[in-house]
Subunit: 325 residues, 2 copies
């Protein structure tokens, strides 16, 4: 974990409780089911969604006494997020995740798929005592996520995807859950409708920035740092922001178009494309776009009353673009 993400944003104690509760939540009569769920949970991940949820809760004045609501909401969101990761790896044929072999590679497609379903259900079970409103927020976020996944698939291997469509995909695929985390925290913290909306929008913009940085890291990072293989998006045929910029910015578009549109991509060709994008100005341009979304996120919560938690939210937003994994 790099320095920026090792920060606990002043809510380390609550994040510790999230970890503990996550582990309890996947207990089952089936030892293998628990093992697969723990394989994903224990590998860590950044827990940035729980951090946003808890900070949102506190920043609207949520009480210490009821912070369990924000913790339960975080656990629910993180469980459902982990479920989608397991399922994603199955369809993307991902080999590594969070520095270890993916669940479906280790346990087989059947078991990984069922474990994902189990975690989905546990997520909603954990959310059971929250409120109908919070279940609606979580469910709608995952509806947007599924829609984003379908839109991404629709544009697969297609170099003509407009930047606006890419942003729309990110808004669904990643930002919806960031937004839900912030809204759930604000809602349970007793925030006003305005505060819930502000924080929801903050989550959306942080989430889009987070995903753009993910797309950048898939090109500029290496497997050891990232904990998963690089060049995945290119191999999968997923159009990302660096690729979209590259297609419009004078690098060898013909080579790129060839790589992207080919269903089976020779390794050498993918590596040439990565090198080309890496050495172009597209990475800096993409970074600039991520920073713009972070600035929007920070403006989203400018109306929030001053507090140490608001400061931490601003730091968290900044950390999203400086992260190295």
């Amino acid at each position: 974990m790099n320095d920026a993400m090792a920060l606990d944003f002043g809510v380390g104690e609550e994040l510790g409780l999230v970890e503990k509760t996550l582990r309890e939540s996947v207990r089952s009569e089936s030892p293998l089911l628990t093992e697969i769920a723990m394989h994903v949970i224990a590998a860590g991940g950044k827990r940035i969604r729980p951090a946003i949820c808890i900070l949102a809760y506190k920043s609207v004045g949520g009480s210490e006494a009821n912070v369990g609501m924000a913790i339960d909401a975080s656990v629910a969101v993180e469980l459902i997020h982990s479920a989608t990761l397991i399922h994603d790896d199955i369809t993307d044929e991902g080999e590594m995740r969070r520095g270890q072999v993916t669940a479906y590679r280790k346990y087989g497609v059947h078991n990984a798929l069922v474990a994902g379903d189990f975690m989905f259900v546990q997520g909603f079970k954990y959310g059971q005592f929250l409120s109908p409103e919070s279940i609606r927020i979580a469910a709608e976020a995952y509806e947007r996520l599924a829609e984003g996944e379908m839109l991404q698939d629709h544009w697969k291997n297609n170099v003509a995807v407009p930047k606006e469509q890419y942003i729309e995909i990110m808004r669904g695929k990643t930002a919806s859950v960031f937004s839900a985390s912030a809204q759930l925290g604000a809602f349970h913290g007793g925030g006003s409708d305005d505060e819930i909306e502000m924080l929801g929008s903050f989550g959306t913009n942080v989430g889009i920035a987070f995903q753009i940085v993910d797309d950048i890291l898939d090109i500029v990072s290496d497997e050891n740092t990232l904990g998963k293989s690089v060049g995945n998006d290119l191999r999968e045929g997923n159009m990302t922001l660096p690729l979209i910029y590259a297609m419009n910015n004078g690098v060898d578009r013909k080579l790129l178009a060839e790589v992207i549109s080919k269903k089976v991509k020779p390794k050498g060709l993918v590596e040439s494309a990565i090198d080309m994008i890496r050495d172009s100005g597209c990475i800096a341009e993409s970074h600039k776009q991520a920073e713009d979304f972070v600035e929007m996120a920070k403006r989203d919560i400018s109306g929030l009353k001053a507090s140490p938690f608001k400061e931490q939210l601003l730091m968290l937003a900044d950390s999203v673009v400086t992260r190295k994994k």
Copy 2:
């Protein structure tokens, strides 16, 4: 649909509302997501879980005014059930379901998997206004379902599975959701703890009988009647009750053991095994076992006060063993 299952058990109007609500529940910004969900929903299925839920609601005296609760619970259960069917077909590589090509074969693994996740989430979204208790009942049923799936996988290609383990698998994989349907109906109908328990047990026993009949039909039926290919369990290496009886009842155990333990099963070998089981006494023996579970189910609700709905529940239990698909 055969005559027994074409019966609407006196709740045709409510089942019509379940159909209508199911269709509304899968609307999405993504037309393809809705299309895949509708592919599964519109194919029908027996809606036996909704029928149990609504009859349980009415049999404990649930009011006409609030029958919407039982309908929403039914929709939630049916959505989650449909989600597991889509996912099952992916891992079992099923080609046909409910008389049409399976979702993953038509739309690809990625889209089918995401659509399944979408339906899971819509199920819980639909259940949002019910109550924490009903979300707990539904979530725990699907926890048992996942555990049953894992146990079945554990015994895959293993001829030594004891009958008790088979029943345990069925209790999780199928009966848990039947039981949850009955409990949800009874709970929302204002049933006493005793009534909820009785009806839950009724659901469990009907569910086990239903699954045994499924296993029988996989051997004795044909693709046209069943709406899916036959011999699936044998090909998949899943031990079923007819197989367990066959292994213990003097048919050619060596041939059977060979078929079951082989990972790749030659077509001719599977067909010989099916013929052998079909012609043995194992089918009648399995049928007898299903009837025993139906009798247990009927005894479970003997303490329920007399009503036309109780009569329909008894008829529904009987219909489970006489069905032809």
